[in-house]
Amino acid sequence: MNITQVITLVIVAWLLGFLRRYQPWKSLLIFTSMSLYYWLQPSSPIRYVDFWLPTFVVILAWLTYAGMSSFRLATLRKNIGELGLVLLPTLAASLNRYLAICCITPTLPPSIDRVLIFLILAIFIITFITRVLPQKWHFPFIILILLIIFIFLKNPYLTLQLSKSWREFNHQPIQYSLPIDIQWLGISYIILRMAHILIDVRAKRQPLPDFQTYFLYLIFFPALIAGPIDLFPHFQKEVNAAPQTPPLRLEGFKRIILGAFKKFVLADSLAILALSQQNATQITAPLYLWLSLIFYSWRIYFDFSGYTDIAIGSALLIGIRLPENFSAPYFKTNLIQFWNSWHITLANWFRAYFFYPFVRKFQRNQSLPPWLLILIGQGITMILIGLWHGISLNYFLWGLWHGIGLFINNRWKEWAGSHAFPFLENRLTQFASWLITFTYVSLGWVWFLITDFGSARIVFNHLFGIGL
């Protein structure tokens, strides 16, 4: 997001905050969020991709909603009006083909008849699935679809193949295909939100929501690009609550200013100094390499937490409180604390939907010793968190790095807890703990940043003065 986009989002959020007391507010929020989705979606050289991708979100939302309601026609029929409402911005955006108003859609959308045919066909297919698929297959079927979409979008090779196929379908030259041609804005977050509600409704931890609130939860524009990943019950409560008195506007503006400062001043300045894919192998002196790695650590923090502050601040302007995503992670003295304060909502999601069920399952069976259970459980959880950022070796290694770190931390904590060491509380030990944690996290960023293993290995060697 650039500064113009941020200012636009803030103004829109501020205006929506004023309109909150009026009845069609939720519909207005959906219309605005979806329109902003079309506006923010990066443009693509593949014809109509930047229109279809946000449109697919509506279809996916309807599919997952149908799945949650076990494809009961009565429920779907009850919510079809809400679907129509949700589709309004899509139809409005497609009119831009004839109006050609700047910026409503990144490129010219397809003709409205094509959009209508597609939507009718998609809804028909979903209804068809209702009839043919046995109920026990509904959940795995939808999860599989989400997984396939995720894998195709997060693996550069598969995204390239998708780009080629799409170009071929459009009769566009395939030799210019690039993975970057298909960038689906916010889909990683949207899929996690969908999965969260699907799992919770299936487990009866959560009643079936109305489609309008569900869809708003998926594409709520302040949290569309970089989270945080709110839990649905909390979001629903915030959306349905009466406007707060006094309004949260001042707090919101403060957060937005802080976020903008973090993102556009600190992160963007640090980007010039920070380790990058380009300079990683150009810098050979260990001191400079360590400095650039530290700059990268702070850059990624300011960048991400800056976006989060803007998201939380914009939501506050509307009158909705989103969960915190960061809590001074670089000042923590161990890795467990770090992961409780870095991308908190993502870590919580994977804890809730993978780690705890995994541990519970094996604890019940008592088939694994506790230490092995923690090693495997934390290892896989962190690898999954890594792969959520992208399905490639470097993210796998980044996840593994943290999985191993958390395991060591866990074992140390247990061992130290069984022995009373007074020195653990003194300042020097606390400082050493902080230093070790920050260094470990920073070294982990090498895996995160550098996509090819060979270059990452060179960086590690140079950091420790090997092979100079």
Binding site: I272, Q278, N279, Q282, I283, A285, Y288, L289, L291, S292
Partner: protein
């Protein structure tokens, strides 16, 4: 309202008013201080970061860790020449010229100054000769003169000024953004040294209050800050230019166009070229010797090479220029070296003046030899 009677409630009006007042005050203060303080001279180079070996110029800052600035203060304060006091044992030589001298598509070790320094030359009286690259990728003698005038502050013992015909035409003198941004300094230079003006310099009024505010100066200020930050990557990598592995080669087959700028054959006249800039340079330098070098050019053997030497030069124009150059040198008793055909054609890269590392080294070797002989003749 609090108990002690002070209004502690938040007021949007007060916030906006305070912000506006603070913003206005900052702008007024900056507008007041900026003419008194040369911001470009505030630098992290030569202290926190290493001084640059050539003047800043960058096509793609994120890859070259370099930035094109038009602020001469900032350009010079980042250069290594501004970093240290000249030692008594140093014989300081500055190289002035265009992109060939600056070293376009060449790493710092492969520029003329880079090679000449590697040769570890000494003067007959035992001083160590240190060469400073003050070339800049713009073909204009007036730009060279502006740089020369600044270079004099760093006590050079000798100036080597590499020139080529493309820097001489009148229409090339003021065209570059660097000159346009420093027209006032150029005017002052001409007036204060009573130089014979070679081109009509438009009068630039002093910046008004608005032009001096933070808002008006935000882009140059942001550039200056970014330029300081790039010092880290430059110090860490030594890279100040993104040199692609492949680039389109210099044009071998030429058009049958005989014109040079707006000039047509048969002869190039003295009045068509800005030789008076060289004269001004001599005047400015005073007792500091200047050696003028007509730099090597690519001599094509392709299509229409019977009428043109290369993309830049029709043969008639370049031959006339060389005659004029030698006539001037003789008439004014300048030290001039003409090495226009020194370098084989395959040692040129993307243009008719940019050389490969080998071409650059051959030129440096030739200059080193000639310089050693020349120094022996100096008192």
């Amino acid at each position: 309202m609090s108990q002690n009677g002070l209004n502690t409630e938040f007021s949007w009006k007060r916030l906006i008013l305070k912000t506006l007042i603070l913003f206005l005050l900052c702008n007024v203060f900056f507008a007041w201080i900026s003419p008194r303080l040369s911001i470009g001279k505030i630098t992290l180079y030569n202290s926190v970061f290493e001084g640059r070996l050539r003047l800043p110029y960058g096509d793609d800052p994120s890859k070259s860790y370099n930035l094109t600035l038009n602020n001469l203060d900032a350009m010079f304060s980042s250069h290594i020449i501004a970093g240290n006091q000249k030692p008594i044992s140093e014989y300081r030589v500055v190289l002035i010229g265009d992109s060939a001298t600056w070293g376009y598509l060449l790493a710092n070790d492969h520029t003329l100054a880079g090679y000449l320094n590697q040769f570890q030359l000494n003067t007959p009286d035992g001083k160590h000769i240190v060469f400073y690259n003050l070339g800049y990728p713009v073909m204009s003698l007036t730009k060279d003169l502006l740089i020369l005038s600044r270079a004099l502050a760093y006590q050079p013992d000798l100036i080597i000024w590499l020139v080529t015909l493309e820097s001489f035409p009148k229409d090339k003198q003021l065209y570059s953004p660097l000159i346009q941004a420093n027209l006032r300094e150029l005017s002052q230079l001409i007036q204060s040294h009573h130089l014979e003006s070679w081109v009509d310099i438009p009068r630039v009024p002093p910046d008004n209050f608005w032009q001096r505010t933070l808002i008006a100066q935000r882009k140059p200020l942001a550039d200056l800050i970014r330029f300081q930050l790039y010092g880290f990557a430059y110090s860490a990598t030594g890279i100040d230019q993104d040199i692609p592995a492949e680039f389109p080669p210099r044009q071998e087959d030429l058009t049958n166009d005989l014109t040079f700028h707006d000039l047509k054959p048969p002869t190039l006249k003295d009045s068509n070229l800005s030789f008076s800039v060289l004269l001004a340079g001599k005047q400015l330098a005073g007792k500091i010797p200047i050696i003028f070098i007509n730099e090597p050019i690519f001599i094509s053997h392709g299509l229409n090479s019977d009428i043109r030497y290369n993309f830049y030069y029709p043969r008639w124009a370049y031959d006339d220029y060389r005659n004029l150059f030698s006539t001037k040198c003789l008439a004014f008793n300048w030290t001039c070296w003409d090495i226009w055909d020194l370098i084989p054609p395959n040692e040129f890269t993307n243009t008719a003046i940019h050389m490969t590392p080998t071409g650059s080294k051959l030129t440096a070797e030739w200059i080193a030899d000639q310089l050693s002989n020349w120094l022996k003749t100096q008192p």
